[in-house]
C-alpha cells in the first residue's frame, strides 16, 4: 500500500509556478494551436552526425533578418531625394546618409550593419548553396526547393543593385548607370527594362525613388514570401542526411521504388485488395 506523502511547501510552490506559467500558454494553444504549430515548425528529426555546414541556411536567414530590421530603422532617417539642399548645394539623399553616419546616435553602427550585412547575406547564400550542392540535398524530392533558393539568390542580388544607388554619390550613380545599361543590352526587351528601371530616358530623381521603393518594399516582400515557401518545403521534406550518414532523417522515398511508380496526384497508391479505403496523401507523407 503506497503511502501518499504530503507534498512539501516547496513542491506546492513549484507546482503553482508551473500552473502560472502554463496557464497563458494553454489559453493560447486552446484558441490558436500556435504552440503546437511552433513545435511542428522547429522540432524535426536531425541525424546525429550532421555538422556546422548545415547551419548555413539559418545563418543566411539571420543575415536577412538583420538586413530587414536595420533597413526599417534606416528608412526612418534616410531621404530618397535627388533635390539639391539650397543651404549646402549637396543632394538631400546624400546628406541624409552623412547625417546617419556622422550625427545620429549609433547611426554609423546600424548603417554599417546594413552595408556589410548585405555582403554577408550574399556570401552566406552562396555558401549555403554550395553545401546543398555538395551534400546532394537538391535531389528528389527537393528540386523545387533548389529552384526557390535560386530565386531568393536572384532577389538578393537585386537588393544589392537597388541598394547601391541609395547613397547617391558618384560611385552609386555611375555603378547604376553601368548596371542599368548592362540590362539595356539584353536582346529585345532590354531597352524597355532599362527605361523602366530609370523611370525615363535618363537617370534622375525618379530613378532614386523607384529604386528605394523596389529596395525596401517590393523585393523584400518577394524574398519573405519565397523564404516562407523555402521553409515550408524544409519542414515538409525534413533535413537531408549528410552523405556519410547512415541515418535517414528526412522524408526520403524508398530507394527500391522507381520514381515513376511513386504515389502522386495522378498516381494513386497501389494497394492490395482488402486494404483500407483511405487513399494515401500525395507524396506518401504520414
Amino acid at each position: 500500500m503506497a503511502v501518499r506523502r504530503k507534498p512539501t511547501r516547496a513542491e506546492i510552490r513549484r507546482q503553482r509556478m508551473e500552473e502560472l506559467i502554463n496557464f497563458p500558454l494553454d489559453w493560447l494553444e486552446e484558441r490558436s494551436g500556435l504552440i503546437g504549430g511552433v513545435r511542428y515548425f522547429l522540432f524535426r528529426n536531425v541525424p546525429s552526425d550532421i555538422n556546422w555546414m548545415q547551419t548555413l541556411g539559418s545563418a543566411a536567414l539571420t543575415a536577412f533578418l538583420v538586413q530587414a530590421i536595420t533597413g526599417v530603422i534606416l528608412a526612418m532617417y534616410y531621404v530618397p531625394s535627388a533635390a539639391t539642399d539650397p543651404h549646402t548645394g549637396k543632394p538631400v539623399a546624400w546628406e541624409s546618409i552623412v547625417n546617419i553616419s556622422d550625427n545620429l546616435f549609433m547611426g554609423w553602427l546600424v548603417r554599417g550593419m546594413h552595408r556589410w550585412g548585405a555582403s554577408v547575406f550574399i556570401i552566406l547564400m552562396f555558401l549555403h548553396m554550395g553545401r546543398v550542392f555538395l551534400f546532394g540535398a537538391y535531389k528528389y524530392p527537393r528540386e523545387l526547393n533548389w529552384i526557390i533558393g535560386v530565386l531568393i539568390l536572384v532577389m538578393g542580388m537585386m537588393e544589392g543593385f537597388t541598394g547601391y544607388l541609395l547613397p547617391w554619390d558618384q560611385t552609386a550613380y555611375w555603378a547604376t548607370v553601368v548596371g542599368i545599361n548592362l540590362n539595356g543590352t539584353a536582346p529585345f526587351l532590354g531597352p524597355w527594362l532599362a527605361q523602366f528601371l530609370r523611370g525615363g530616358q535618363e537617370i534622375s530623381g525618379e530613378t532614386l525613388t523607384r529604386f528605394y521603393s523596389l529596395h525596401m518594399l517590393l523585393i523584400p516582400g518577394a524574398i519573405i514570401a519565397l523564404i516562407g515557401l523555402h521553409l515550408y518545403l524544409v519542414i515538409r521534406l525534413g533535413v537531408t542526411s549528410p552523405p556519410w550518414s547512415k541515418e535517414a532523417a528526412g522524408m526520403e522515398p524508398d530507394e527500391e521504388e522507381p520514381a515513376r511508380l511513386r504515389p502522386g496526384l495522378t498516381r494513386p497508391v497501389p494497394r492490395p485488395a482488402g486494404a483500407s479505403a483511405m487513399q494515401a496523401e500525395p507524396g506518401g507523407r504520414e
Binding site: A82, A83, T84, P91, W174, V177, V178, I180, N181, L182, G184, T185, P187, F188, G190, P191, W192, A194, Q195, F196, R198, G199, G200, Q201, E202, I203, S204, G205
Partner: protein, 338 residues
C-alpha cells in the same frame, strides 16, 4: 416530487425560440438611395437635388421604420419559412456513407448548374473582375509613366560668338532646370564654320556636337588632351535659361572612357575597347544667334571630319546596343524617345 408547473412566462419564452426574422423588405434600399442622392446633391445642387434625396430618404425611412416596428405595435407577422423536402435514400439518390449520419441528396446531373456551382462561379468571376479593376490601373501606373510624355528639353548654350572656329570645348549644361544638377550633361563641341546646305544651297552654320555617354555602357567619356588652364585659355561661364553653362577649351587627340577603356577619335569613331559603335551626337538649331541643343541620335560611324563629315545616323539607341550589322536585329523595338 411534484410535477413541474409551467412557469408564467412560458408563452413569451417560446416566442424567442422561434426563428425571429423580419420579412424581406426593399425599404432600406430606397432609404440608402435617398441618402446617396442627398450627398450627391450637396456637391451638385444642394437646394434641389438634396431636397429630393431628403424626401426619398424620409419616405422610405418611414416605411422601413413602420415595417420594423410592426411586431412591437402588436401586428401579426407572417413569415414564410424556407423549407426543403427531406427524402429517404432511394433510386436516383446518393446515400451517405454507411458509417456516417446524413441526409440523402438527390443526384445532380453534371450538366445542371446547381446553386452552389453558380455561387462558386460567381465568386470566382466577380473576384476576377474586381482583381482586374484593381490590377490594371495600378500596373499601368507602375509601368507606363517611364515611357509616356518623354518631352524634349531644348538647351540654350549661349551666343555663337562663344564658339571660335575649329576650337573644341568641353561643354557642361543642365538639361532640365526643374530636375537640377542630376540632369547635368557634357558634350564636346566644335564650330565647323558655315557650310552650304545641300538642299537650299544657303550658307548655314555647322557644329560637331558629340555626347560624352560612352557607347559601351554609358560612362562619361573624357577628352584626351590639355584643357583650359594648361592651354592658357579661359573657361567661359555662361548663364542661360537652362542655368549655368561652362565651356572649357580643349585640344583633344580623341576621347577615352575611364570605366572599361573604350577609345574614340575626335569624330567619335570607336578606335579601341568594348564600345559597339561611335559616340552619340546632339542635333541642334540656331535661334537668334544662339546655339540650341536638341535631342540626341546614335551614330554607327563617321567618315571624314568637321563640316565635310558623312555621319551614318540612326535613331537613338541605348549604350551597348548595335545600330548596324546583324546585331541590330536584337533590338527591333526601341522604347519611345523624344
Amino acid at each position: 416530487m411534484e410535477p413541474e408547473q409551467p412557469s408564467p412566462d412560458t408563452e413569451q419564452e417560446s416566442l424567442h425560440e422561434e426563428a425571429h426574422l423580419p420579412p424581406p423588405t426593399f425599404w432600406p434600399i430606397g432609404f440608402a438611395i435617398g441618402i446617396v442622392v442627398v450627398l450627391v446633391g450637396l456637391v451638385i445642387n444642394p437646394e434641389l437635388i438634396s431636397s429630393i434625396g431628403a424626401v426619398i430618404a424620409i419616405v422610405f425611412g418611414f416605411l422601413w421604420a413602420r415595417d420594423a416596428t410592426a411586431e412591437l405595435r402588436g401586428q401579426t407577422l407572417v413569415v414564410e419559412p424556407e423549407r426543403r423536402q427531406l427524402k429517404e435514400a432511394g433510386e436516383g439518390m446518393t446515400a451517405p456513407p454507411a458509417d456516417q449520419q446524413g441526409v440523402a441528396l438527390p443526384r445532380v446531373d453534371p450538366a445542371t448548374v446547381t446553386r452552389s456551382r453558380f455561387l462558386e462561379g460567381a465568386t470566382l468571376g466577380l473576384g476576377g473582375v474586381i482583381g482586374g479593376l484593381i490590377t490594371v490601373p495600378v500596373a499601368g501606373f507602375a509601368l507606363l509613366p517611364s515611357f509616356l510624355d518623354q518631352k524634349q528639353h531644348k538647351v540654350d548654350l549661349g551666343p555663337l560668338s562663344n564658339f571660335p572656329l575649329s576650337q573644341w570645348f568641353v561643354t557642361t549644361f543642365v538639361v532640365d532646370p526643374a530636375e537640377g544638377e542630376v540632369s547635368r550633361r557634357t558634350a564636346f563641341i566644335r564650330n565647323n564654320g558655315n557650310v552650304a546646305d545641300p538642299k537650299t544651297k544657303k550658307q548655314v552654320p555647322s557644329f560637331t556636337i558629340i555626347s560624352n555617354h560612352c557607347a559601351h555602357l554609358g560612362c562619361p567619356v573624357q577628352a584626351n588632351g590639355p584643357t583650359g588652364a594648361i592651354l592658357g585659355q579661359k573657361t567661359i561661364h555662361e548663364r542661360t535659361a537652362n542655368g549655368p553653362v561652362t565651356l572649357d577649351p580643349v585640344v583633344p587627340a580623341g576621347y577615352g572612357c575611364p570605366c572599361h577603356g573604350g577609345q574614340y577619335d575626335t569624330e567619335g569613331n570607336r578606335t579601341a575597347g568594348p564600345p559597339v559603335r561611335a559616340l552619340d551626337r546632339y542635333s541642334f538649331e540656331i535661334d537668334k544667334g544662339r546655339l540650341i541643343l536638341l535631342s540626341t541620335y546614335s551614330v554607327s560611324h563617321v567618315v571624314g571630319t568637321g563640316a565635310q563629315a558623312k555621319i551614318y545616323r540612326y535613331k537613338e539607341a541605348g549604350p551597348g546596343e548595335h545600330v548596324d550589322g546583324p546585331e541590330q536585329w536584337f533590338y527591333p523595338l526601341q522604347p519611345p524617345h523624344h
